[in-house]
């Protein structure tokens, strides 16, 4: 059982000035810890085009390691360029997950393109940074994880980890598109790939987390950390349709595993929920848990999936059972 104490909103993209590519949304936060600061990667958007359509970029904000509420730096430009005409990431690079590999930093990200019968599809790209995560160069024009027999639709939300010298990539796989009266909505579930080098991944397309609210429950942000000799996954889930209504929007779920393959879901142990009022009163989503110095923190999104930024919570107590 986890119990989290909310510390408040830490970053609101709408406060940022002078960056027309960073106007709204700060989605899917994930950290890279440096000696003096904590770099939080997130995805953001310029204002929508005249048809109301968004593109998305990824960027970072650096927080003072000794006071996470102090912003010491904001990325001057997106960390990744959008893809060329016709490529999988032409219309967005969201979200992003980074990991150190020697002196380099590898990033895995969702690349977005637009389709005719469905609004978009997503595949997972990879990029490398040799300047401590300021900018990234793509490993190729194409994705590193694309659709296959088991993962036929969107592939998104990568979260990369390394445990015992093996690489793991938790991701979100579309399992169907719902017609929804001509406004198709995706159903997606949490899955896992593994690798010996971070480049060549194997996956079996099995859903890891059982559904709770409905068969078409959408699951995202599979954030795994090792703590108290167990693997813990915080994630978020929502209804597949009409989820922009607050009662059906994202909540944070929880599952535990001994082996990273078999997961036992028990959302009651997540220990965090929406607030009575304020920026996270309608939905909370995209949890990212990290240890820093002697504390365990969770970054998460509030209302409208991060339109108004992300907040921080600190682990108050944990009991294993």
């Amino acid at each position: 059982m986890f119990k989290w104490r909310k510390l408040g909103r830490i970053f609101n993209p709408q406060d940022v000035k002078g960056r027309d590519w960073l106007k709204e949304f700060a989605q899917a936060p994930s950290v890279l810890v440096f000696d003096n600061f904590v770099r939080v990667y997130f995805s953001c958007r310029p204002l929508p085009d005249k048809n109301g359509q968004y593109i998305s970029y990824s960027a970072f904000v650096d927080l003072n390691r000794n006071n996470l509420f102090e912003i010491v730096n904001i990325a001057k430009k997106p960390i990744l360029a959008l893809g060329e005409l016709g490529t999988f990431d032409e219309f967005g690079t969201y979200p992003v997950s980074v990991i150190r590999n020697g002196n380099e930093i590898l990033a895995y990200y969702g690349g977005w393109t637009r389709c005719e019968s469905i609004p978009f599809t997503v595949a997972i790209g990879a990029a490398i940074s040799r300047d401590q995560g300021e900018t990234f160069t793509k490993l190729g024009k194409g994705p590193i994880l694309s659709c296959n027999i088991h993962d036929p639709f969107v592939l998104s939300g990568p979260k990369v980890r390394r445990f015992n010298d093996r690489w793991f990539l938790w991701y979100v796989a579309g399992t169907k598109w719902l017609e929804n009266d001509g406004k198709p909505e995706a159903v997606y579930k949490i899955r896992m790939a593994s690798s010996s080098d971070g480049l060549k991944w194997s996956r079996n397309g099995e859903d890891l987390i059982e559904n709770k609210i409905e068969e078409n429950e959408c699951q995202a942000s599979p954030d795994v950390f090792y703590y108290g000799k167990k693997y813990h996954m915080f994630f978020c889930y929502k209804y597949s349709l009409n989820f922009r209504n607050s009662d059906r929007g994202y909540r944070i779920g929880y599952a535990v595993s001994e082996d990273m393959v078999r997961w036992v879901r028990d959302d009651r142990k997540a220990g965090i929920d929406i607030s009575e009022d304020g920026w996270d009163s309608e939905s909370i989503s995209y949890p990212h848990v990290f240890q820093l110095d002697r504390s365990v923190y969770m970054l998460y999104l509030g209302n409208q999936v991060g339109r108004f930024g992300f907040g921080l919570a600190e682990l108050e107590s944990y009991t294993s059972s």
Binding site: G86, F88, F153
Partner: protein, 336 residues
């Protein structure tokens, strides 16, 4: 090499097709039975918004490719559902007899916004002797990757020894050009291998050298073994202006190999060319070569990418003039 044209053997407009298809018989591909030759092809319907959807059909011929025995009047393989890689068409479909099983490798099309389409390669099997096919999953068996970023299609699969070989096409570029109303694309021929026909390992290189320029588009590889050598036929064209300008449109290309690794392009010896006039006078495309009763045949499309049907040719002379000389020059070059 010299091919003798047998003429156009199938005109789709003469037959009633299922799925409201009314024109096109593209990329003919043969499956030889004891008493007949079944030729699968892709035909087209126009959907509600006036865009084409390709569907697979077949026609059965006698074993001399003279008489039509039957034309399919049912759905051979369903298109994919909403959001699937093959929602907007299957073209082409390569069919392979594998002991007592029949495999199919489909190219599934899905429509996009900034460029017209993307494609991936799917897999299906038949439980009724090739009459219908069932996909093994909703997704593809070969799709985009880091260095083959889009437009994966045109699979041709053969088993040599215990390995399945797939030749296929991958896109390298989408771009705009003043002469084209919408973005044009460039694609090349690649190669992958598999122990089971389902799980594939891409070789990751362009297999056939460009002849025209780096924007040359190469499509529909088909490979056959005879005279102790592997022969790969394909079609190629200019990236721009190929739809309406005869000299920039598809022609049949040719390469040969001793080992399935080194391929030497040798279009001079392809032995088949556009006709002076008639249904295959502007272009030749989508070749498919196969053995039948001691002969080697090529099926192919003509003008307008097969709108008016397909023809056949039979191989008359397998001699490659200067082949050995070129082969040794090439190998010498490769050694240096």
């Amino acid at each position: 090499m010299r091919w003798k044209k047998l003429g156009r053997i199938f005109e789709p407009s003469k037959y009633k097709s299922p799925n409201n298809c009314f024109e096109f018989a593209q990329s003919p591909q043969a499956l030889v039975f004891d008493d007949f030759i079944r030729i699968y092809f892709s035909t087209r319907e126009k959907d509600r918004i006036g865009k084409y959807l390709s569907h697979v059909s077949f026609v059965d011929f006698d074993k001399k490719l003279k008489d039509i025995i039957r034309v399919s009047n049912h759905t051979v393989i369903e298109l994919g559902g909403l959001g699937s890689f093959d929602e907007h068409g299957i073209f082409p479909m390569n069919v392979l007899r594998d002991n007592d099983r029949i495999f199919a490798y489909t190219t599934g099309w899905n429509r996009k916004v900034s460029v017209s389409v993307d494609s991936s390669i799917g897999f299906a099997t038949s439980d009724d002797g090739g009459r219908t096919f069932r996909k093994i999953g909703k997704g593809p068996v070969l799709s985009s990757s880091l260095h083959e970023p889009f437009l994966i299609g045109d699979a041709f699969v053969s088993r040599f020894d215990s390995t399945y070989h797939m030749w296929y096409v991958y896109g390298t570029k989408w771009a705009n050009h003043p002469e084209e109303a919408s973005p044009y694309r460039v694609y090349k021929i690649g190669h992958a291998t598999s122990p089971d026909g389902i799980s594939w390992q891409k070789e990751g290189r362009q297999l056939i050298a460009d002849k025209l320029d780096s924007d040359e588009c190469q499509a529909l590889p088909t490979v056959i073994n005879f005279d102790g050598r592997y022969h790969l036929f394909f079609c190629y064209r200019q990236a721009i202006g190929f739809k309406h300008r005869r000299e920039r449109s598809y022609r049949i290309g040719y390469a040969f190999s001793e080992d399935l690794k080194n391929w030497i392009r040798d279009d001079e010896n392809v032995g088949i060319h556009v006709s002076e006039d008639g249904w295959d006078s502007d272009m030749l495309c989508y070749p498919h070569v196969f053995h039948c009763e001691g002969k080697i045949y090529m099926l192919y499309n003509g003008n307008e990418f097969g709108r008016f049907g397909f023809g056949a040719a039979v191989l008359e002379d397998t001699t490659n003039e200067g082949l050995l000389e070129r082969y040794h020059i090439h190998n010498k070059g490769a050694d240096q």
